[in-house]
Amino acid sequence: MITASKVGSILSFAIAFAGISPVFFWIEPFPRLIFVLGFLIGILQEKADRWRIKNLYFNLLLLPLFIWYLLQYSRNNPVQPVVSVLTIMLAARLCGEKNNRNLMQINLLALLCLASRSLFDLSPSFLFWLALLLLLIPVSLVVLTFYAQDNGIKFVRAELNRVILSAILITLVTIPGMVLLFPILPRTAIPMWTFLTPSSVNSTGLSDKVEPGTTSSSHTSSRLAFRAEVQKQEQPPYWRGTVFNRIENNNSWSRYVQTLPSETIVYSGNSMLQTIYPEPSSSRIIVAMDAAREISLPRIRTAPDLVYEYPRIPTKRMAYTARSFTDGVLSTRADIRSSFYLITPSNLSERTLQLAKYIQKNARTDRERLELTEQHFINGKYRYTTVGLPTGQDAIEQFLFESKQGHCEFFASSFAILLRAAGVPARLVGGYLGGEYNDIGGYYIVTEDKAHVWVEVYIKEKGWIRTDPSRFAINSEAVWNQQKKPDMILRFRLLIDSLDYHWNRTIVSYDFERQVEQIRFAGNKLQSLQGITKISWLVPLILLSATFAALTILNSRLHFLANSREKRLLRRFKKIIKKRFGETVEIDNKGFFEIASATGDPLVLEFCNIYAASFYKDRKLERYELERLEKLLGYISRGRK
């Protein structure tokens, strides 16, 4: 037996936990600490059943905190103060005395905390916590209703079970409604606030500048950049993002579009269709497999060097398909104005210039010069690394001739500079290389640490040829071509990722028009199938009867559950009478009092009296009556007087 207030407060702890868990790692450390403290103090006080501190003091304590967070609130920081206040209020309510009103407040605060999660991030785990709260809160509400009627009310386990069952039923009944509402409900496609405060987003590899030599080591996060639905490639695919075509004296590459030479690409070779789901970021660059001929997005800007950009930063999660020609050669219809791609920094060192001269002299064509440069990199035994990088103005020179170690920016940058100095047009391409292929979902997972820079070299009558100087590093095999063994953790991670992927595809970037289109498409397909029309009347019939059967089963189950206690008692009673009095007492088609007088047992008579008095007066058995009946059955079966 347990009191309603106890049930209510246990539920309130569970609800608070379920409400705060999704935001717990997003909120600031202080409210986090306060919440943990409040939760623990609440549990301790609940155990001791003593309330040392009055709620009034908590409210007074909250006031300055509230004002403090009010002052913190600004347009740049709109979420954290609100969530912090919510969390602290929840903590205060948890460790305060809990009357009906306070318990309701806990429910509400927990729900608000969960809702605020969507301001940070909208991931499938949100659904889990939402479902948990949707189950817990109706239970709590039902219990609180009892509590409001009679604050000393107690439950036995069966009653508690019934309360929980009815609350679950309430939730289940609402599910069809929720499903119906889903298509018309507005939703945010991207986490709004973290997106507006771009600190956490786009701390990434794909930048608008390539500046080797600015830091001695580079850190890139393994944050997801995009997913690309495409068949698995034999070689790690190159994902083309942007092109850097101008180099400054400080070895910084950037993109210059004002005098960009026009070029017309003649596409040939293998084409590959892919659907790309980028993660929200503040970048306008559209990434696709090198090199995309077309991208299925309206109003995008296309540059002649195949750089695609959104007109402005996208405000919602989106997806696009791209058709790419993956051979790594971009033939041009006519020769390009190559002088644009031959500009070198004026402060190139002697050694670099000498090397460039050597390359220019020892080969007759651009093609041979390219091969010679590649040969130099292969023979140079360069190492690929992201730490211990050369820095300073002469970083490129250090890389080329002394340290001989760097990351892709060093390789690509020095390679392009050498070629340009040797009179071969070259440019840097920024994008991503490789990515993890998820066999479960059939897509590449490309994270920000896969960001990469490579070189495109222009060979007359041939076109732009993709060459990746990082490949010539002596440890390139180890860096890019390592085959990860499919261990359990990786498989699990991929499974989770594919869940996340489908969540984004179907829930977050849900597009009503697209769904309608798909349904129409499916309908058209069905109509075109002649065979199906013959049995089409069977389908609704089967569906209807299945629904009916399910409802019938459900109904009978519910009926069983609702009356189970009485029915069970009666079944046990009959069994015991049969066992104890056997042949002498006939119980089929006999009334209670006939049975009782036939047995002559006062305990049987008492049982019959209690049972019949409730049953034939059309009322439910009271709790104490049920208990007494159970006891009587025990006595009767043991034959005790």
Partner: protein
């Protein structure tokens, strides 16, 4: 006043009657009380000399109710029962002399010996609880219960009550011979006829009326039990050996009697057991068997009831 408080005097009366005065007649006394509590009439169908009149007298004495006796004969006229107006020469008016029917308990002995005209007048009075003589309506006293007896053996010069008239009696029962030891005892000590005068009343009219009211209003009849009664009635109507099953009046009477039965058992609700227990006394005389079938209507009814499932859960 709770049901048990109301029931107490009646139950005390029953016990005293059975233990001290009328040995071996528990069943009949029980049925008489049920008829009394549910405002019905009782017909006792048995051979002469088994104590029919004694029971009626004892009941009247112990309840303190007024008692009238009508010995039916073939030349009995309706006015012999109801009474008649006699011219008073002194006052110059007709004065109404009430007949024996103006009593609380009226014993109609050997009702089948009265001619149908008289039977009919009597039964009408039973139903209406009033008598109209020469345009003036006289209410019969409350409570009013007819205690009719009938000799079932075929005898010349008798008019057996037709089945339609039998329907007016709430209960029809027999008495049966007393068990051997009891009968020996009766033989040795003689009947109790003489000692009946010594019985003192244990209950008064207002208590009886209160008990009646309780039976009518405060004994709960659940829909489940109503359903059971209906099932019983329907089963008699469908039975192949029965020509005419139970009427709606029979069903109403069954419910009334079941209430009284529950009341006597000290309960404030009707259980199907009550219906089952009382059914044969209330219903069997109303069944009309098909021609050529055995006249054991009691056995037939028991068979029907035994296969009807009771509402238990």
């Amino acid at each position: 006043m709770s049901n048990t408080d109301t029931a107490k005097p009646v139950i005390r009366l029953f016990e005293s009657l059975c233990k001290e005065h009328l040995h071996g007649k528990d069943n009949v006394v029980h049925l008489v009380l049920i008829a009394l509590l549910s405002a019905g009439h009782i017909l006792i169908e048995d051979l002469p000399g088994l104590g029919k009149t004694t029971i009626a007298l004892a009941i009247a004495r112990i309840t303190g109710l007024s008692f009238g006796r009508i010995q039916c004969t073939s030349d009995l006229l309706p006015s012999d029962i109801t009474g008649l107006s006699v011219f008073n020469r002194e006052s110059g008016h007709f004065n109404f002399n009430p007949g024996p029917i103006f009593n609380n308990i009226v014993l109609l002995d050997e009702i089948n010996r009265a001619m149908p005209r008289t039977q009919s007048a009597m039964l009408e009075a039973m139903e209406e609880r009033r008598v109209t003589i020469e345009g003036i309506t006289h209410q019969l006293p409350q409570p009013f219960m007819v205690f009719a007896t009938q000799n079932p053996s075929d005898q010349s010069g008798t008019f057996l009550l037709p089945e339609s008239q039998l329907d007016r009696f709430l209960i029809c029962t027999d008495i049966g011979y007393p068990p051997e030891m009891l009968e020996r005892n009766i033989i040795s000590t003689g009947g109790i006829r003489e000692r009946i005068e010594e019985i003192s009343p244990l209950i008064n009219i207002s208590e009886i009326m209160q008990a009646r009211l309780t039976v009518e209003k405060d004994v709960y009849l659940s829909d489940k039990v109503v359903g059971y009664i209906h099932k019983v009635v329907m089963a008699t109507r469908k039975h192949p050996l029965i020509q005419i099953g139970l009427s709606t009046r029979a069903a109403i009477n069954l419910a009334q009697a079941a209430r009284a039965e529950a009341f006597l058992a000290g309960r404030d609700y009707v259980a199907p057991d009550d219906v089952k227990k009382i059914a044969s006394a209330v219903c069997s005389h109303r069944l009309i068997a098909r021609a050529g079938q055995s006249a054991d209507r009691k056995g037939l009814l028991r068979e029907i009831i035994d296969v009807i499932p009771l509402p238990l859960a």
